[in-house]
Structure formats: C-alpha cells, structure tokens
C-alpha cells in the first residue's frame, strides 16, 4: 500500500501520479515517451448542493507491465489497460485495435470503489482489490470480469493491501485481521483462513509456505499457511516503534522489513530473531519513517526513507551483518512511493513528481526529470 511507484519494463520506466497520469520514461534517453491523463469522474452529489462532485483520479497503485501493455488501477475505481504503441501515438483511449480496455469497479452498496492496492498479474488474468471489500479477477486481454469474491472485510471494506499468489490460491490480508485464501479459478474462499486480533497494515509476502505481514499492533507476523497460530511475531516482546507499513523483502532466510519508526530490521525467517537493525535518519540526523518497500538488486538491499536518504546494504559483506550500510546517498526530497532498480540504477519518484535515477556504484543522482513537462 502506498503511492504509485516506478517499474521498469524493457527499458521504459512507468509511473502513476496523484493527479491521474500514467507516464512512460525512456531510461536510456531520459525523456518522457508518453503521458496519459485519466479523465476525472463526476458522481452525483448528496445534500442540497447543485451539480456533480468531481472524484479525483489519483493513482496510488504502481502500474504493472506485460509485453506492450501497461495496467493501472485508479482511486476513481477504474482499471485501465494501456498499449504503449497506442499511447506513444496519442490515439483515443481505449483503442480496441491495440487491445486497450477500461473496466469500472462496481460501487457496491454505496461503498467507495477506489483502487489503492497494486494490481496483481497472473498467467492470463489481473486481480484487483477494491475499497468495496471485494477482489475481482479480470481477463487480461479483454478486461472481462471472470469472478468477484464475496466481501472480505464487512467492517472496514478497504482492501488497500495487495494480494499475493501461491499455487492456485490468492492470499490477501484485511484490516479486520484476517488472511483469506481465494481460489484463482473461481474466487471462492479456500478452506483455510487466519484470524488475528489486530488488522493487517502491509501487503503480505510469501516465502517457503509462510506468509509475512505487518500489523497495526506494531508487530510483524509469520504465519505458516494452513495453521491457526503464528510461527512468531517480531519484536518478541515490546512492539516496534510504529507500523510495518511496507511489505518486507526476503533473501536466503533473512527478512528485511522497513518500519514507520525509521528502522530497518533484518530478521531470521525461521526463528523470528533480530539479526541486526539500522535506524535510518534524515540529513539533520532526525529519524524518518520507511514508507517505501525495500528493493533487492543482486546482493544489494536498497532502502529509502521518507526524507529521501537512500541506504544500500551489501548483504554479502561483513558490514551488513553488523547492520551498517555500504552506501548512503541523499537525494534530499520526500519519498513515499515504491521504487525499482536495474543495472545499478535505482528509479525513484519523489512527492514533487520528479523521477530520480540514482547510481549506486557512484553514490550519486545520475539524472532527474520532472513528470510535468510534457503531456
């Protein structure tokens, strides 16, 4: 859950913005290839006010790309399939000849249909979690609805965390403290579900048949699929300083989790014991929350905190075992969204809608461009 981050696919960086644009940037030429603005939605107003209410078309979910297609979910409850060739020619959307489509999430029982969670791409389908409490499966080619799940969290509805797939089951965490398994074929609930006292704040991650997920009670839980009791919760006794908002990343038995208390924790996946932790700071030495998901690039773990400090840990080096970063690169701007990394460069969108390419080896910003110069 968070703000639309970057992905890189075939040399093109894709990103969504809070003002409702999907932007494609060529990572080689450092130019905007195309930008598509999603039209605002007008909904009937309540009360005595005249006219309709304009619903913002903010994009919170990170786009996903497959071949020539880019898929994105919007806060106004739409899923768009954009063809990169059609968009670079600025053709009318949706252009059927280029397999483009648009899907409107139903407004279920007057509940918001906003899409905040990242879309999940399966083999031929896309899975969409909505603020109306349902998960939807869409045909990737035509945007047709395959199935819709029952309402998973009747109390809060908001499914703002992204689901994950293992085998033929899709797993999703809810704000009322459940982890549900859904059949990928039918959307029906699997036999197993997990119930916790506290709601789940972060998107779950699966590693070795175990689900790792952050909770609103400031713990990180490890739940073996098929069991009713967590294997462990971290920290063991007193809770962390804040929520584990970002999903953790896992490599070779080590789970790395960023926390809103500003710390990065490295935890043993089997025992749940802390291996090391590191308190990230801002340039004035104050703590700054880790909102963005950490990213792995080979043996490097990259973490960015809200104040825009990029920390690089070499997981193979001795320093990492002591929780010391190999590199610290300040970019000096607020970062909340997830980011991606490829070929030694990390692509970060800041809150001012600039894209930064950070060169890890050189330890500096290689280039940056605003997302507002071209339409």
């Amino acid at each position: 859950m968070g703000w639309s981050g970057t992905i890189i696919h075939e040399g093109i960086i894709y990103v969504g913005t809070l003002d409702g644009r999907v932007v494609a940037i060529n990572s080689s030429t450092e130019n905007i290839e195309w930008s598509y603005s999603i039209a605002p939605v007008t909904a009937p107003s309540g009360g005595f006010s005249c006219g309709g209410t304009s619903i913002p078309t903010a994009i919170y979910s990170t786009p996903v790309a497959d071949k020539d297609m880019v898929y994105v979910g919007t806060y106004s409850g739409k899923v768009l399939a954009l063809n990169t060739l059609a968009r670079s020619q600025n053709l009318t959307f949706p252009h059927r000849g280029y397999s483009e489509w648009e899907w409107d999430c139903p407004i279920d029982n007057a509940r918001s249909n906003a899409i905040v969670a990242n879309l999940l791409v399966g083999e031929d389908d896309i899975y969409v979690s909505s603020s109306n409490g349902r998960v939807y499966s869409l045909d990737m080619e035509f945007g047709d609805l395959n199935w819709e799940s029952e309402v998973l969290d009747k109390e809060h509805r908001k499914l703002w965390t992204s689901p994950v797939i293992q085998g033929n089951t899709l797993y999703t965490g809810t704000y009322d403290g459940h982890i549900y398994g859904l059949s990928l074929e039918t959307g029906e609930l699997a036999n197993w579900s997990f119930e916790s006292e506290a709601g789940f704040a972060s998107s779950p991650v699966i590693y070795d048949d175990t689900i790792y997920v952050g909770s609103f009670d400031r713990y990180l839980y490890a739940v073996k699929i098929g069991t009713d009791v967590p294997i462990w919760k971290f920290p063991e006794e007193t809770p962390a300083g804040n929520w584990f908002w970002a999903s953790p990343v896992i490599k070779e038995g080590i789970i790395c989790a960023g926390c809103l208390d500003g710390k990065l924790y490295a935890i043993n996946t089997t025992t749940g014991k802390e291996i090391w932790s590191y308190m990230t700071k801002e340039q004035k030495d104050e703590t700054s929350p880790v909102i963005s998901l950490p990213v792995l690039m080979d043996n490097l773990l990259i973490v960015v905190n809200e104040s825009g400090m990029v920390y690089v840990f070499d997981l193979n080096a001795e320093l990492a075992n002591e929780g010391m970063p190999w590199r610290t690169i300040p970019i000096g701007t607020a970062v909340r969204s997830s980011f991606c990394a490829q070929d030694g460069l990390v692509y970060i969108r800041d809150e001012e809608n600039w894209i930064y390419a950070v060169d890890i080896d050189r330890g500096e910003v290689s280039w940056r461009i605003p997302l507002t110069t071209e339409e």
Binding site: G47, F48, H156, W160, G199, D217, P239, N242, L260, I291
Partner: protein, 246 residues
C-alpha cells in the same frame, strides 16, 4: 503554530477518541458521544455560569415588563433602564454565545480527529500512524470502523435525519436561552440568529462528516437537558416576549 496546535489539542483529542473507541467495543460513534459528554463536563463551570445568567434573565421578566409599560414610548430610556437592570442583576444578555465560541477549537480538533482516525485516504492513514501515542489501547483500536447506526461517520449523512436533529435541537436550545431584548433592532437580530444558526448547522450537517454532526447533536441534547433541570423548565421556549405584543 500548527505543531503547537497538534501537540496541545489536535493529537490529544485524536488519541482520546481512539482510546474511547477501543473501550467502547470498537464503536467509534459511541466514542464520539462519550467524548462529547467529557467535553461538556470539562466546560461545566462555564455552562453553569451561563445557565445562572439565563435563569436570572428569566426571573427578571416581570421587571422587564414593568419597564416596557413605563418607558414603552421612549426607546432610548427603555434601553438605558433595561441595561441598568441587567447590570444590577449581574447578567449579560449575550452570555450564551461564550460557551459556543469556547467550543469552537474543540469542534475543529474533533473534525480533524474524525477525519484522521477514519483515514479515508492512504495519506490520512499514514498521517494517523505519526500521530498515535504508543499506548496499547490506542494501537489495538486501529483501524476504526466508520459504521454507526445508519451512518458512515466519515461521510455526510445521505438522509436528512441528522440535519433535522442538529437543526431542531439547536433551535430548541437557543429558544430556551435567548432572552428577549427591549431594543427592537437587537430583538430582530436575536430572532434572526435563533433561526439562522439552526438552519446553518443543519446545512453544514449535510456537508461535513456525520461524526462531527453527531457531536453537535449530542452536545445540543445535553445542553437542553442541563438547561431544563438547572432553570427548572423550558425557559424562553414557552415564554412569550412581552415586546411581541406591542
């Protein structure tokens, strides 16, 4: 300035509201009602003064009628004598406005607390994480449910029910406390205020989150009950102004 506000009023109100919600079985609506009662209890010394003033005004009505008979044709003299009478009795005819003005920061803090606590956007949810105290009771309450009776507390009431309750209770409370004035202009102003304020708040109810309107409604009802028992009746609600007959 914003940081000071949040430190002293904004964050404490938010955390108390969230903690109350946990105590009251996760019912955010009940937490708002409980907070309203707490606010009314804290402001009781002020309310008591206002009620005393209101009672004194009520008791003065026969004397005011006498003045009206005596100086009815000389408005200036009538006004002077009336003000003298008020001064002697130590009452302020506009005293009922003070409790409302003092409640204004609470309304603002409560509005912010409701919007923050219910976290209708990811920004709100992240902002909430930064504002919550590390109390267990607070962290166990998150995330809150916005459902209460027929209301979604983070959204305006789609029906007119809450608007009618807020407007109606405010009108009753104002009628109970608003003393008639000897000055026709002041009388006309206060009559207009008695109508305009309930209408305005009824209208605001249609636009603001119903959680805030719930606070207004409960606060008004508590005001009516305390006024009824303190002054021993419906006050000016049943009292016909002597000046209306002229």
């Amino acid at each position: 300035m914003v940081e000071v506000w949040n430190l002293i009023i904004g964050n404490p109100v938010l955390n108390v509201l969230v903690a109350l919600s946990q105590i009251l079985s996760g019912q955010f609506g009940l937490a708002i009602i409980a907070l309203t009662v707490i606010v009314r209890l804290i402001s009781w010394p002020l309310s008591k003064r206002q009620l005393k003033s209101s009672k004194a005004m009520q008791d003065m009505q026969p004397k005011l009628q006498e003045l009206q008979k005596k100086y009815g044709k000389n408005q200036q003299k009538l006004q002077q004598e009336t003000m003298k009478l008020y001064k002697e009795a130590g009452v302020n005819p506009l005293g009922c406005l003070w409790p409302m003005l003092i409640q204004l920061p609470i309304w603002i803090a409560l509005y912010q607390a409701i919007m923050r606590a219910l976290a209708t956007t990811p920004e709100n949810l992240l902002d909430l994480a930064q504002r919550l105290y590390s109390w267990d009771i607070v962290n166990q309450a998150i995330p809150l449910s916005s459902k209460f009776l027929w209301l979604d507390l983070g959204q305006p009431d789609p029906y007119l029910i809450l608007a009618i309750i807020v407007g109606g209770t405010m009108w009753v409370q104002q009628k109970m406390t608003q003393a008639p004035s000897v000055d026709p202009r002041q009388q006309s102003t206060s009559r207009m205020m008695t109508m305009m304020m309930p209408l305005m708040f009824g209208f605001l109810t249609l636009m603001f989150p119903s959680g805030l309107a719930l606070y207004w409604a409960v606060s008004n009802i508590i005001g009516i009950i305390t006024q009824y028992f303190f002054t021993g009746g419906w006050g000016y609600l049943k009292f016909r102004s002597p000046f209306q007959s002229t």
